[in-house]
């Protein structure tokens, strides 16, 4: 694949140089070195070397803000994805956050000889089945749990919450011991080989499990399975995000919700919102909980501001500025809890709240919870103990 191929595939040659993308881009606003329009122009001018070795190639959040607004329908996120794949062949991978630990972990996981122990967190409180029609895809939560504990993120809570919800609806999902990372981060940082290995493995074990439907609590896993897997592997299942499943089930028998007198706001994750157009289901869910007052941030739904780091890459001062902006926006609504439906968003927002230095920035403290976790905590009678 060459840069020319990428230009063709993504319709980049239709670019009008109108600047709508750069005007919409949160990174461009804070980092003058980055402009989607200039990236595309570089490609059109054949300046492959400059493009491929530019640090900013890995700054794009692939949040789709530009993609939804581009009058020429240039698939800029795909352009970034493919150009990064090219860059990867030349040894470029961006500035990996956490020293590249997460990417390394995904690659280690991709190794065929690995035999994981990823379900040890499963306790008697949750009912899972050895076989069945519904699979719950846990994702990287068992790894994120120890990794991000210190910033107050219990990464397994969304999975646990989702299981509780499914159980309440009478569903005992299958959980696969050798499920692997969906490969989202590897795909978006140019490691197509790693991504393919993971995708092929997941496709094989899902086929073997014989399930008909897969439920996700992670927006990124969901998007990856829905949009990216079909290009490489065949997953013959219905795919659904827990927010969608919940939205369809709010009036169902098993879902007895307590009253929760809280003012909350909802942050649309890019992968669920702009990528897949799923804006209403999470809102339906929240509004169906008795006592909840849902308030909207100034920028919501298609205009939602990205949590500012994608694929744990190029997480920098600019990312922090964007996050602070978003959190202040959330606090401005007066909401007591910021709800989101993607573990990455949760992690990045909590990280932005870490402030241990002598001098501190603006106060951006606000409780952040995953939608599934939040709904699960409202399940059942007053006296029922939560996990």
């Amino acid at each position: 694949m060459t840069l020319q191929d990428v230009v063709k595939e993504t319709r980049a040659f239709y670019c009008l140089e109108c600047g709508k993308c750069s005007g919409s881009c949160p990174i461009s606003r804070h980092n003058p070195a980055y402009s989607p329009r200039v990236m595309v122009e570089n490609a059109l001018m054949g300046l492959e070397n400059d493009l491929v070795h530019a640090r900013e190639l890995f700054s794009c959040l692939t949040c789709y803000a530009c993609h939804l607004r581009c009058p020429s329908d240039v698939d800029y996120p795909l352009f970034i994805q493919k150009t990064r794949a090219l860059a990867s062949t030349q040894g470029e991978h961006g500035d990996c956050a956490h020293s590249g630990s997460l990417q390394s972990l995904a690659r280690l996981m991709a190794n065929p000889a690995i035999k994981q122990r990823r379900l040890e967190w499963l306790s008697n409180g949750y009912r899972a089945a050895a076989q069945g029609d519904v699979l719950f895809f846990v994702g990287c939560a068992p790894y994120f749990e120890p990794f991000f504990e210190d910033i107050g993120v219990n990464a397994l809570q969304p999975a646990k919450g989702s299981l509780k919800i499914l159980n309440s609806l009478g569903i005992e999902p299958v959980l696969l011991e050798d499920e692997k990372c969906c490969g989202h981060d590897l795909l978006w940082t140019g490691d197509t080989r790693g991504f393919k290995e993971l995708a092929e493995h997941n496709a094989a074990i899902i086929k073997k499990a014989g399930v008909k439907k897969i439920v996700f609590s992670c927006a990124e896993c969901y998007r990856t399975f829905k949009e990216d897997y079909p290009k490489h592997v065949s997953i013959d299942c219905e795919l659904q995000h827990i927010s969608e499943l919940l939205s369809d089930s709010m009036d169902k028998e098993g879902l007895r919700l307590r009253e929760v007198k809280k003012k909350v706001t909802y942050h649309d994750p890019c992968r669920l919102g702009r990528h897949l157009g799923i804006y209403e289901p999470p809102r339906n869910v929240l509004q169906a909980i008795p006592g909840i007052e849902l308030v909207e941030m100034a920028r919501n739904k298609e205009d939602s501001l990205c949590c500012a780091t994608s694929a744990f890459t190029n997480c920098d001062a600019c990312s922090k500025q964007i996050r602070v902006e978003r959190l202040l926006e959330a606090k401005y609504t007066g909401a007591e809890v910021l709800i989101t439906s993607c573990p990455k968003c949760q992690i990045h927002f909590k990280c932005a709240m870490v402030s241990k230095g002598k001098e501190k920035g603006p106060d951006v403290e606000i409780p952040v919870m995953d939608l599934a976790e939040f709904v699960a905590s409202a399940l059942g009678a007053e006296d029922e103990q939560q996990e």
């Binding site: 020293s99 390394s104 122990r117 990823r118 790894y143």
Partner: protein
């Protein structure tokens, strides 16, 4: 189960003030140990980023040894305590990944313990020979 002829590859991150000096002392004392270990000098065990360990497994090492000063004796006061905490978290990740606990080893070896260093290596090589090649290896051969 000792795979025939399998020679484990070990990378050891040793701190400049204690364990690296111990390895040097083993040398000056001519205490022999197996050549399976390859040493990387760091200034402190607290300098060891968990990614070094992950990358080491990616690179095909069968075992990773991190050796620092005894608790209380760290040249930088408590870099070794920090290392200990980080490695505790890392162990949980490696456990979930399915790697055997023995593949990551943390030792405190002082500058005076040349023979201690050699013994540790001998023991570790023997242990890894029993354990077999790392499941993270990409090639079949040692």
């Amino acid at each position: 189960m000792n795979v025939n002829g399998f020679e484990p590859k070990i990378v050891a991150f040793t701190c400049n003030w204690c364990s690296y000096a111990a390895a040097d002392l083993a040398g000056t004392s001519r205490i022999h140990y197996p050549p399976n270990v390859r040493i990387i000098r760091v200034m402190c065990s607290g300098m060891v980023d968990p990614v070094y360990v992950l990358k080491a497994f990616e690179a095909g090492f069968d075992g990773v040894l991190i050796a620092g000063c005894h608790i209380g004796d760290c040249h930088y006061l408590s870099g070794n305590v920090k290392a200990q905490d980080r490695i505790a978290t890392l162990r949980r990740l490696l456990h979930t990944l399915g790697l055997e606990d023995e593949r990551l080893r943390l030792e405190w070896i002082s500058a005076a313990e040349g023979s201690g260093f050699a013994e540790t290596i001998k023991e570790y090589v023997g242990q890894l020979k029993q354990l077999g090649p790392s499941p993270c290896r990409r090639e079949a051969t040692a």
